[in-house]
Structures are given as C-alpha cells and as structure tokens.
Symmetry: D2
Subunit: 335 residues, 4 copies
C-alpha cells in the first residue's frame, strides 16, 4: 500500500525529503505540503509527481484524510505544536531534529504519546541508519569486544555559517554524537563536562573546537570532539573501546589513488555526501513501518534525552563545571 505523506516545511531539508519520497523510495506518495511561505509550498507542490495539495497550515494538513503520515521539517520552535497535533490525530509523525526546543516541550510530547498508548513519533537521527554505524553497533552488540568502557566520537566540519554560535556546537552538531552514544552503548547520560581546547583562529571569535565528556549510567566515558572550521573535509569518526577490543568507523573511501607521492582517499565534502545513503534507509524503514504497522526508530524519549543532555552540556560550557543529568523515569512505551 502506498503511504500518503504530508510534509510541513519545504525548506532545503523538506524539499530533499520530498525528492526522496517521490523519486527515490518505494511505497510513498506526497499528497500534502505546507509552509510558512505558501508560495514556496505551492511551487513545491507543483513539482510533485501526481501533484500535492497545499494546506494553509500544519493543523489543516494533519487533519486531511488524504494524509496518512506527517513529516515535520519546519522551524524548530514549531515542532512541538505539529507533533502534538499529529498525535492528537493518531497519525505517525516523522520529526526532524530537534523534537522540540525545550525539555518541557519534549516532555509534553512524551506525555501525549504515552496517553495515546502507542508509538507514533520518530525523530530524525539518521546516523542510526548509516551502514558503517550499523556495523559498529553490530560488533558492540555481538560482545566480540567485551563490555564498552569508552567511546571516542569525532565530528568535524570544514566550516560553518556566520551565525553559528558555540552553543550550536552542542545543540546542532554534537547532538548527533550524543544520540549515537546513547544508542551504541544502550545507556543514558548522567553527567557532562565541556572543555575548551585552543581556539581555531579560522573560526574567528567562535569557541571552537570543543571537547565534550559524557558519563554514562553504566560508567562508560564518552568524549566528543567538535571541530567546525577544520577546512579539510567533513569527517565523522568513532571508536567504541571494549574490555577486550575496539571497533571503529573505517577511515578509507571507496577508492585509493596513487599520485604525486601520495596514496590517498577522499574525505567527504559535507554531511550530504557522507550521510545521503543513511537518509534513504531512514525514510524507507519509516515508510515500511508506517505501512506495515512496524516498529519506529528514534523515539520521543530519544528526542527528549538529547534535549536534556544538550541543555546540560550548554550549562557546562558556560560554567566550566560538571553538570549532572537526570532524565527521570522512562515510560514503558519506550523500553
């Protein structure tokens, strides 16, 4: 059965998901779109194969019977409203990160979903769908390297736009590493510190790089390097250290070139190049889950936990001190 999807927000990421749903993946159609800019919504709707309805706002789109499931790609502060409306309507909703902009808002979503009694929400942490991260998770779960004691995570960008702040290094950048840490280690964060290495002069006044340290409930220690002006490429690395071995993301590219006295592989240019395959898998599995009533990926709880840990990390960045993290009880729905 074709899943009819309504998309709220047709900025860069919204457009890309529409392209994906209509020209790359099987089993979905885009039947409705909306955006704060209705002209933009109309333009996008015109380009959808078979056409799509333009709704004047998200609530209307969610309520449309021609929409089976909702994708939220609008501005972060609007996420809570649309996710809650989708839950109210009993429709599956894929929400790009962040789930909501405050812990309290995330909590309200959790409460609504728990009250509904069934999972409807998936949050856009696409790294869990990347082939290399999945292979890493496979090794960790196999027990082949023993119980994890540490995780080294590296997140490098060639550059960032001018409005990027040091807090965004946590809330926009490291938040992916935080989610990956919780998922790979199947554990929650209980404390966080942020250290400030020598400033990269290429970032001007920006406090960059950062070195973020997470203590997990089970004792494992996670370190996250964010380095967002490093020029040489978009480089995502990770190593899980176990009691008897380790597993790392590979560092080689698909080919190897020998010229000019070097044997070399390319480093990806940006997150699109690095994770395009992960986005495809993420959405294919989401469509399949919607269509078949199957299991969803990253949950409201994951979105909430990311928000709480990010907030604590921002506080730790400001204070220079260790900040404790308390998530409270996890509802059974998410176990």
């Amino acid at each position: 059965m074709t899943v009819n999807v309504g998309v709220i927000g047709v900025g860069m990421i919204g457009k890309d998901h529409i392209r994906r749903l209509t020209t790359v993946l099987a089993g979905a159609a885009v039947t409705g779109v909306t955006d704060v800019n209705l002209d933009a919504a109309q333009q996008v709707a015109d380009g959808v194969p078979g056409g799509a309805n333009v709704h004047s706002n998200g609530q209307e789109l969610i309520d449309d019977d021609a929409v089976d499931a909702v994708v939220v790609c609008s501005w972060g502060p609007t996420h809570e409203e649309y996710v809650l409306a989708a839950i109210e309507a009993g429709k599956p909703v894929f929400c790009e990160k962040p789930l909501a902009t405050t812990q309290q808002a995330c909590r309200r979503i959790i409460d609504a979903e728990v009250a509904f009694g069934r999972r409807l929400v998936q949050v856009g942490y696409m790294r869990r769908y990347d082939a290399a991260y999945r292979a890493l998770k496979g090794v960790v779960d196999s027990g082949d390297i023993g119980t994890p004691t540490m995780l080294h995570s590296t997140h490098r960008n060639p550059s960032v736009p001018g409005h990027y702040t040091r807090e965004m290094a946590i809330t926009d950048t490291a938040v992916h590493d935080i989610d990956v840490a919780r998922w790979l280690l199947a554990d929650e964060v209980v404390g966080v510190r942020v250290l400030k290495p020598r400033k990269n002069s290429l970032g001007g006044e920006l406090e960059d790089p950062l070195f973020i340290l997470l203590e997990m409930a089970g004792g494992a220690l996670v370190d996250i390097e964010t380095n967002v002006n490093i020029r040489y490429g978009y480089d995502i690395r990770g190593e899980v250290v176990g009691e008897t071995g380790t597993a790392s993301l590979g560092s080689g590219g698909p080919i190897s070139v020998r010229r000019n006295n070097l044997v070399s592989d390319r480093v990806p240019e940006d997150w699109r190049e690095r994770f395009i395959g992960a986005y495809d898998v993420e959405f294919q599995e989401w469509i399949d889950a919607v269509g078949s009533g199957g299991t969803f990926g990253p949950s409201s709880w994951d979105g909430y936990a990311a928000a709480v840990v990010s907030d604590a990390a921002v506080e730790a960045l400001h204070s220079g001190e260790r900040v404790a993290v308390e998530l409270g009880e996890k509802p059974a729905l998410y176990s």
Copy 2:
C-alpha cells in the same frame, strides 16, 4: 509518472528485481509477470503490491498495453527471442546478462535495434553502477593519473556449485571484468590469452584459477584473475595503472575491528552483499531513463562485445594460444 514493468522469468534474480521495483525504488510498478513455470509466476504475481497480471508467455506480456517496459530474467537461451520482441513492440527492455547466448544472436539484436533507430535495450552489467567503480571511472576520466596503460582486475568467489565449468569462469565470472575493462578504458578488446596457474585443490578437477589477458585496441593490457574457490570471501578488486599514477578500488570495509591481535575489516560474503547497492542504482536509473526518455546504460553493443570476447577467451583457454578479437564496425547508434 509510474513506469509499468513486465517481468519475464521469476527465478531468484527475477524475484529480486520485482522486490526492488515494488518495495525499494520509486517510480515503477510491476504490472505483468510470466515464467516457464506459470504456477511460480502466479505466486509471485499474488505477492506484488496492487497485484500483477500473469501472462502465458513472454510475447503476450510484451504485447500488453499495461506493460511500458520489459525486464528479461529468464533462461539465457530465451533472451534473444524476448529482446527482439520488445524491440519489435518498441518497448524499452532490460535484459539480464547475457544479452544472448551467441554472437550471432547478439548481432541480430543490434540489427533490429539499429533498424528501429533508437536505443531500447539495456544489458545487466551492474558494476557500472557501483559507487566505488564509478569513483574509479571518475579518476580515470579526469586525467589525474594520465593515460591508462594497464588494468589489474581480480574476481574471487569463496566457492562455486558443482556444475560450474572452467568455461563458466570466463562466460559467467570474468565477463563482468571484461565489461568493466571496456567501460573503464573506453576501448575495445583486440586479442585475448588465457593462462592456467597452479590448480586450486579445493576446486577438485576444475581448472581454477585462470589468468586472462586482454589486449585493448589502444594498447592497454588487462589482466583478470578469476579464483572461484578461494574460501575467504567474495573479493572484487581492480587497479587502473596510468602514466603518472594509479587508481584502485579500496580494500577497507565500513568499520575496523581490533581484537585477538588483529586489526581487521570484513570481506563481503557474496555478490549480493557486495553489489546490492549497485543493483538498486542500476534499476533506479533505468526506470528514470524509461520514464523520461533518458539515456540507457550498457547497450546491445556492450552485450555483443562481451559475447565476442568471451567466445575468444574460451577458444584461448582451449588452445593455449592468443586469439584475435574482431568486433566489426560499431553502429553509430552506440557511439
């Protein structure tokens, strides 16, 4: 627009393509199937989302107005008939390798397509769609390593079934390397030799491995190692040697594991694991080309050239001598 595809032959590969067309890729529907075993065809048709017609034979399927384009996955000896019928009907046809079982049959297909005046046929050489091979081709075409002088190609299988013959090491196995050589070097084969290394005892009486040498019209030399009982994995490697550098398929996997005194990556188990992504891209691009009237991939000429070179290689295997390869004039349609 959705492309309605009819599939002739629902064996393992046919079933896999139907799964791909209906549950993985966008823009296609399977509207008709047939098979020499009509019960099998019916069973497959029943599983197709939205259902598919079962036709009593390939000709009938091709003639059905509900079929826009044809996929031929039946037994090799039937390929010629179905491809010619599709050309007769003016419908795009994707034919799994081989295009046909004899050079003469391939020639007849070329003649029919040339008479039709427009390309309709694509042959299933999926390596051209593999991300690593495409990156290799990109480096070669960039001129970064200078004009190619050699190509080393390695094709290893852990094991082969009991009915596998030494000729199949050429016609079923090395034929992929032959196609890749022609494509990477953008050149034709003019001579071939086959050398016989020490026999691998794990293959019993089979003449395995083989070392196949192709001379290209432009002078480049290609060597192909086939090793089909090597146990350790399915390992496809290649290096283009240019005047000032070389480019190779990478040998690393997506992750790297450190345990038991080794740092290691996995070798794929079989061709499915290695090339599943290539099949997806191959079919997505074919559907897009059918839908948009765009350019097709490997042509009848490529299928014909593979047949002629394979035949010469089999003769060289038997005789122990160099065998000249003559393809004749390439019709303008394929330039």
Copy 3:
C-alpha cells in the same frame, strides 16, 4: 672513535642495551658493568665481546678512566645518585626513565648540570626516535595542518603484572604520552585532570582504563587513554589535530592478510615489538652525540617536567579535581 660505555644495572633492560651496544650498533664498546647483584654483573661481563670490567658499585664504574659514558638502568631510586655522580665526573650519562623518583631530585640534577655548564644527561624517552612519531613531528612542524589545537593519545597494553597500581598507569605508562605531548606540541603542561571510565573487569580491582587530560600553556588540549588490560595487543596511537588538518600514527601493519572473511593486519604483541627500532636509533644517536660532542636527546628538563606532570596527575587521580602544574623557569641550557 669507539665510545666506551659503562652500564649500571644489568636487569632485563640493562642486558638489552648491552646487546644493542655490542652486537647491533656501531661505534661503542661496553667496558664496565655493575649491579646490586655482582654475580649477575659478572655473568653479563663474561658475555660481552672483548670482556668488560665488573665494578663493585656505580661510583667506581663512573670514575673508571676506561668508561667514557654511562648508561643507568638500575632501580629508579638509585638514578639520582648515579646521574649526579656522572655529572660530577663530567661524563655523558644516559638514564632510563625516570630521571629520578621525585621532582626535587630532578631539580638537583638540573642544578648540577646547569652548574656544570654543558648538557651531559639524556633521558630514555625512546618514542621520540620512532620512525612514525618522527614523521608525525615532521608534519606538525611543517605547518601543513596548521597550529595544533588537540592531541589524542592512546596507550593500550594487553595486560600488566599483579603489582601494577593505578598510579603506575600514570607514572609508568602515560608518562610516555606526556613526554610525547610536550615534544610534539613543543609546549609545557599547565593543568591536568584524570577521569575514570567504567572499570575493565579483566583488570580485577585495578582502576583501569584512565582518561588523562592535559592543558598545555598554549591552549592545546591533550587526552590520553590508558588501557592496560585490553588483551588484543599493544596498540599505540596518536592524532595531532591542527587548525586545518590532522596527522595520525598509521594503523596498518607491514602486510595485509585475507583469510576467513577478514582482511587484517597484526597488532604488535608488546612494546619490544613496537619500539625495538626506536631503541636502536635512540642509542645510535646517543653514541654519535657522545663521540662527536653532538646534541643529546630528551634532557634533564624533560625528565623533570615528566615527573612534575606525573605527580600532578596522580594527585588529580586521587582528588578527582583539576590540578595546576607549575614547572618554574626553564634554565637557558635547555632552550
């Protein structure tokens, strides 16, 4: 000219250096040996090509005119006495780490050497002579990766003996990483913290692994993972992160083996296998420097700095807090 060397201490490391000086390297002879166990000294002396004098104690050996230069490999608490005696005698002295067991003792050595007015002391930090570390240092110094902002250093041992304590993870193990950090970054440590990841159960009660964080005067942040029960091998890794790139120790071995579904390289078994070449280069350059009056390697100041930083790290391990590091003024002799 042959350099006549006297060796104090003929335990495992002393014996190995005697083997190196007499059967591997050019330009040296071992003319005197002593040990707290004189029988052992005699036995070793008997095995030296050409024979060597056995001295009843270190002072006597140092005073012997047949000894041009001294190697101190005795028990750590005796180092200060012998190094001071060598300085008193105006003879070059190679002292295995530690230079001395307290900061104060190291200071006394510095004072004596400064009073002597010329460098005589070299401390056994052999990593600075390893080919890979030297290549790393070359890239850092070239400016190719920009100013360093971070250094990730990893020190893994398969196992440690029963008497190994958590403090030794700093004073015996991480002390090499501390020296490497100072050398690679050409900078001094100003603060240190020690974090405790989840305990590796294979180490019993031992607090292992540790994660040591060094702040450098110039702002660079260094993290050192010590993991001394990790079973899979002796694995030394490091990555200098610069403003525009990074440089890492390579992770591959000299060969690559494909079998059993893996492509793999060996990890060294122990420090001997990993650093045997570095020891050879270290001593060859020391002999050459003694013979030619050339420049020595790691200095008393380096030995002192390692002691001060190690002491601070031990304090940080006990307190859980950041500990400031103050080295005081560096005498001009060491600039």
Copy 4:
C-alpha cells in the same frame, strides 16, 4: 670478534656499505679498500674510522691477511673474477647483484664453491631482509593461506636515467622480483613470457611498462609489472595468492595525514627510502654469519638462477614468445 672487511669498488653503493659497516652496524671494521680509481679509494680509506689500507687491485685486497671477508661492489663485469678469487682464498664474499654477467660465469662460481665444499658466497638480494617481505614469507610458510597458486608483483619507479634500456627493465629492475618469487614460493622458474602494455609516453622511446609472466615448476604463475616512469613514487607491491587466502605487502605509510579533502600516506621517493632498513639487516646478518660461521643468505645458486631467468626473459621480450627455462641440477650445497 670484529670482522675485518675489504671492499672492492667505492662507487655510490660501495661508499654506502662502508658507511653502514663502520657507523651503523656492530661487529665489523673496514680494513681494506680498492677501486679502479685509486684516488677515489684513497679518499674513502681516509674517511674510514681507524683508517683502511688501499690496495692496488682486488686480488691484492683479497689476499691481505688483514681482510677476513670481501664485499664486491665493483662494475658487474669484474664480479666473476673477484668472487672466484675470494673462493680461492677461502674467504666469505658478499657480491652485489649481479653475481656475474653471464650464466656461464655464474656456473663457474658455483663449480668453484662446490669444489671448495662450503658456502662462501652471498648475493645482494636485499628484499629478503625487508621486514614486510619477511612477514609475507612467514604467512606463506605458515600454511595460513594454503598452497600458493599465483604471485602478483609490482615494481614502480618514478623515472630512470637516459641510458636505461628495455632489457634493463628485466636485468636490473625485475630481477629483484624474480628473486623474490623464487624465494617466496620456494620454487624454480620453468618458463617465461613478456607482454608489452601500451607505452608510457613519459618514457620516450623506451618499451615501458612491461608485464613479465613466470611459470614456476610447481605450477604457480607469477606476474611482474615493471613501470619505471610512473612519476608518483617508488612503489613496491606484492600479493601471494593461496588456495584459501592471500597475503600482501601493506600499502600504508607510517602516518596518515588529513588535509585538503584527502586522507593520505606518503609513497617512498626511491629505493633508498624504501629499503634502507633491509640493507642494514642484510649486512648485520652477513657479518654475524661471517663471525660465527653461520648460514649465509642468497647463494651463488640464487645468483645463477636470476641470471638464467633474466636471460630467458630478455629473449622472450625480443621474440614475443614463451621461452623455456632450464637450470639443470641444483648441487646439494645449496639445498
């Protein structure tokens, strides 16, 4: 005991061996030198630590009681005379390749050595002392990859001097690969072919690259790529293909650098950089063998076999045909 070495020929390689014997390795002294250019010999002798006698010719040097063992680094055509003289004198002789310039001359050396009744001659095939090749040999001999069926050997030089001929690609370049093939596979060559890939335009008129195929007595097939104008570096690679796995020389350098969108390792610039360590080990083991009466490395038989196979390869290059190789019976002395 110090081994007193006499060196015949003080060109580039002779000087380098004298440097090695006097300033790098233990256990040797250079007591005599000679050269066709006696002034050059005198100059070199003056630089030897402790001084060395200058002899007016090789015979005189060999006859000097102050010379225990002889190193022959003179012009190839003189090798036979000096090696025979050393055997006559009963002194160990290390002869740089080639052992002699004709098969017949090699045979005369073998006859003389067999008549003498004990091995005295070692030929300078230094690759057998390279750490990576030794690790490769270790895997092959362990049986871990099964019986070898193929060997791929690659020999690339950035450029060659103007007097370099296509025959030298065999006699000077590939001769190392030929020796390695015989050693790694513990087998003899029985047939050879030479194929000519597209000519590299950077080599002007030179027939380059070549692709040399060796058939081993046990059936294994060896292919050797020589490419001597490939600009990008000095690149030596090799893969032994066994029945159940393969073993290859590693392709990574000691470090890995990430900058300018690449992750890269250096390729060595020339044979000195790549094999300097192998020369050191080669001579250390030779000195040890001379001093202790131990076993020598590559023998007169190896030098002879290399000559016979090279001659056959040159004939095959000229004729374009397969040329059979017959070595005759191997004397028991070399088994």
